[in-house]
Every structure is written in structure tokens, then in C-alpha cells.
Amino acid sequence: MQETLLQQGLDITVFGMGIVFTFLLVLVIGTSIMSRIIVRNFPEAEPVAPVSGNQRDDSPRLRAIAKAAIQKHRERNK
């Protein structure tokens, strides 16, 4: 039984980790294709200012954005 338990644990680890990676790989590919199709075929009229970045020259603005983002997400984690 103990050996079986170990075997079961290894099975879960190997297959589990494999499936997590495989699934997220498929999701990366799917997302990339989806984004490419949308960006090419349905360009938005006027792309708004990018959400974030890290140029030096406007760190106060970025700090404000970061602060707002933190604020927004603070209650998310339940």
C-alpha cells in the first residue's frame, strides 16, 4: 500500500504538472493567435495610452497608475 501511495503521488505529480504545462501552452498559443487575428482584422479606432511601462521620465504618473491598480486589486484576493 505504501508503495502504491508513493506511486500515486508520483503519478499525480508527473501527469498533473504535465497537463498544467500543456494546457497553458495551448492557452498561450490560442491567445497569441486570437490576439493576432483581432489586432489585424479589427483594429481599434484609437488605441488609448498604454496601460503601463517603465520609462523614467514620467514615474509620478506611473506611480499613480500603480497605486490605483493596487487599490483596485486589493480586495480581489479571496
Binding site: G9, I12, F15, F21, L27, V51, S52, A69, R74
Partner: protein, 436 residues
């Protein structure tokens, strides 16, 4: 006079077993951590309070009618229960055990017998059944979390999904650890227990509660407490690991600005994820389905009032009852067990390994890709949204005061939520096929 004796015997002081006293202290400790130390207070205040309520001796708030009848001290009812369950009537523990293992039809009969004898379900028992045993509350919270999640940073840089994937190794390493403790004879975890403990490493509360309600309900209290406590401790657990596994140069890497993500991509993403779940991972469908539903309500722009309710009234109501229900599982006989120590020890291992694997995966990505990522965002892959992302940002600022990693770290952060929901689905399926 008899009445006075009855009342005294029904009073808590008379009945308080030391275990219940200890659990009330544990409950107060959780409240202290939540209120003074700000440990995930939205969950730990209800959990701690529910834990105290569940351990009030004589109140039996966390027991079913049948369990209340068995422990009530009414020997006539106890005898009838024992007869129904086919065990010796003198031993309360044996009868309780037999009830727990009885087939559903016998449980129904036991409940009817208890009701006919004037007993009723405890308040917390009812809350647990409606909120957790049904699976509803964790799923509704996941829907609300979906409605609060912005996938923009993830969509701008989908590679960060790999960081969220790698960090889930914390889950599986912990499964192996729990199995190892059992094999070594130190603890006695079944494979279902091990899987439920592992999910602590997912650093995602509702996922952990959902999985343990299915695989190991008797460990649910300890697992939920461990999961939320370590999520609160992320700012202490992660930074040393992050500094140990990265060079100062790596920590200074500045990342390219995230591209603008269109509304259409944001609407399509939850549907894409749902379709992939439907095709490849049906067992993750409840968790990821509700998550995607919440996110679609958020992004689609035409059901603002539903999205708003999912993010506010509904998630708050559900959180109150979820927390009290989790507290109902902080019964002394389950929690004051060496297993809880094992769970706490394994939980911190899970977080540490998850953090490390996220960092290492980021370094690996840098080996094979020309757009470098700052490896500090890898640790955010454990989820613990948004705490882990904030830690990445903070540690990043220490090395480079102009390097704001927060938005970059939100990508792996939400990827970690998806990753642990996937891991949850896989483990539920595998454990069921192993034990079923």
C-alpha cells in the same frame, strides 16, 4: 433545583473540554492576526469567528441533528442511533464514527430519528451544507474574482502564462511531500489528503476550499487556515527566496512597455479559455467556468449591473457565509491533530517551492527569448493576487528605483489563478479514478 443543575450542566464551563478551549484560543489568534496584522481579514475574520462559535461547548452549532442527538447525553436516543447504525450503544465515539461512514439512506434515517427526538441541525452545519458541501460558495466567489480580474497584462504578454504554470510545481511538490510523510510513517495522509494539502500551494483560497471540500472535508479547516495565512505572509516568505535565486543584474532588468489590449481581445479571452477547458479539461469546468463567466460579465460591457453585483453584494454575502462555514470545520478533534502541524509545515514548503519555480522559469524564458523578462515577476506566478505582484514590484524597486514591475507581474499573477484551477481539476479527476 433540577432545573438549576440542568442549566449548569448545559453551561459551557461545565462542558468545556480542553480541546474546545484551545480551539477558542486559536480562533482568537486568527482574529488577532486578521485585525491587527491584516492577515487576509475578509476571510480570516469570519473563519476565526466561526471557529470560536463551532467550539462553544454545549451549543453544537457545527453538528447535524443526528450528531447532536448522539452527543446530547440522552442515552435512549443514543441507543436507538446505535441500533440503527449497528454498533454498540455505550460508546459515543463509535456511534459518531459509524454515522460518518453510514450509507446515505441510513444517514437520512438517523436524521429523521434525531428530528423526531427534538434535535435540529446546528446553525453552522446548515451554513456549511448550503455554502460549501454544495460547492456553491467557492464557485460564486470565483465568479466574483473573475469579475474583478483584468486580463489585460496577461494578454499583452501571454508568455507570462508559463510563469503561472511553473509556480504550480509548488502544488505537486507538496503532494509528494505529504505522500513522503505518510510513506515514512510520520503522518497518515491518504492520496486524497495529499492532493488537498498540495492545493495550498496554489495560493488561491476558493480553489483550496473547493478541492478540499471534495477530497478531504475533515482537513478543510486546517487547509483553509493555512492557505489564507500563508497568502498573508507572502511579503515575508517570498523576498528572501527572490533575492537568493536572482542576481542584482537580473533584478534590474527593465521590461518593455506593455502593448495596448483591445476590448475585443478581453471579451474573447474568457470564451477562448472556456472552449479550451471544454475541449481538454472538463474537470476544471466548474472553477474555470465560473471564473470565465465573471470575467465575461466584466468585459462584455452590456451587463454592468450583474458584474457590479457579482463584485460587491454577492461576493460579500458569499464571503460571510463561506468564512463562517470554514470556521465550522475548526472542530477540536479535527484541528488539534498532528496532521494540522504537517499541513502547516507542508504549506510553507509549497509556497516556497512555487515561488522558486516561478523565478527559475522566468530565468529559463530569458535563455530562449530575446525580450527579457525580469525574473522577479516569476514569483507572482503562485497567484496570491495581488499580494505576490506587489512583492515583485517592491523587490524590483529595491534594485532599480525606476523599475515598476507591478503591471508586468499582474500577468503571471492571474496566470497563477488559472494554473492552480487547472491543477485542481487534474487532481480531482486523478484522485477520483484512484480511489473511486
Amino acid at each position: 433545583m433540577d432545573n438549576l443543575i440542568n442549566l449548569w450542566q448545559s453551561s459551557g464551563v461545565y462542558q468545556m473540554a480542553s480541546g474546545q478551549f484551545a480551539m477558542i484560543v486559536v480562533g482568537l489568534l486568527l482574529l488577532f492576526l486578521a485585525i491587527r496584522k491584516n492577515f487576509e481579514p475578509l476571510l480570516l475574520v469570519p473563519i476565526g469567528f466561526g471557529g470560536i462559535l463551532a467550539n462553544i461547548p454545549g451549543a453544537d452549532l457545527a453538528l447535524s441533528a443526528a450528531e447532536t442527538a448522539i452527543v446530547s447525553g440522552d442515552s435512549g436516543v443514543l441507543l436507538q442511533m446505535a441500533q440503527l447504525l449497528g454498533v454498540d450503544g455505550g460508546d459515543v465515539y463509535a456511534v459518531k464514527e459509524a454515522l460518518a461512514n453510514a450509507p446515505a439512506a441510513v444517514k437520512t434515517q438517523a436524521a429523521q430519528l434525531a428530528i423526531d427526538s427534538g434535535f435540529s441541525n446546528g446553525m453552522l452545519y446548515n451554513f456549511y451544507n448550503v455554502a460549501i458541501a454544495s460547492g456553491a460558495a467557492p464557485l460564486v466567489i470565483f465568479m466574483g474574482v473573475g469579475a474583478m480580474t483584468d486580463f489585460g497584462p496577461l494578454l499583452a504578454n501571454p508568455r507570462t502564462l508559463f510563469l503561472g504554470a511553473a509556480a504550480q510545481f509548488g502544488i505537486f511538490a507538496t503532494v509528494l511531500g505529504a505522500v513522503g510523510l505518510s510513506v515514512a510513517g510520520i503522518m497518515d495522509f491518504s492520496i486524497a489528503d495529499a492532493a488537498a494539502i498540495g492545493i495550498i500551494g496554489g495560493a488561491d483560497g476558493p480553489t483550496a476550499i473547493y478541492v478540499s471540500s471534495l477530497l478531504a472535508p475533515e482537513l478543510l479547516g486546517a487547509i483553509a487556515v493555512a492557505a489564507y495565512s500563508y497568502m498573508a505572509l507572502v511579503p515575508l516568505i517570498q523576498p528572501p527566496i527572490m533575492r537568493a535565486l536572482t542576481t542584482p543584474e537580473e533584478r534590474k532588468i527593465e521590461m518593455v512597455q506593455l502593448r495596448h489590449v483591445s476590448k475585443r481581445e478581453k471579451i474573447t479571452f474568457p470564451l477562448l479559455l472556456l472552449i479550451l477547458v471544454a475541449l481538454f479539461l472538463p474537470d476544471a469546468a466548474p472553477l474555470l467556468g465560473m471564473f470565465c463567466f465573471g470575467n465575461l460579465m466584466r468585459e462584455c460591457g452590456v451587463v454592468a449591473r450583474l458584474s457590479d453585483t457579482a463584485q460587491n453584494a454577492l461576493i460579500n454575502i458569499t464571503t460571510i457565509f463561506l468564512g463562517l462555514s470554514v470556521g465550522s470545520k475548526l472542530a477540536a478533534d479535527k484541528f488539534l491533530d498532528p496532521k494540522t502541524l504537517g499541513i502547516l509545515a507542508l504549506g510553507i514548503v509549497a509556497f516556497s517551492i512555487g515561488t522558486a519555480c516561478g523565478l527559475l522559469m522566468a530565468k529559463l524564458l530569458n535563455l530562449v527569448s530575446k525580450h527579457k523578462v525580469n525574473p522577479l515577476i516569476g514569483s507572482a506566478g503562485v497567484s496570491a493576487v495581488p499580494m505576490a505582484a506587489r512583492v515583485s514590484n517592491k523587490v524590483g524597486l529595491e534594485s532599480n528605483p525606476h523599475n515598476f514591475l507591478l503591471m508586468h507581474a499582474m500577468g503571471p499573477n492571474v496566470a497563477g489563478v488559472i494554473g492552480s484551477a487547472v491543477a485542481a481539476g487534474v487532481m480531482i479527476t486523478m484522485v477520483r479514478s484512484m480511489t473511486g
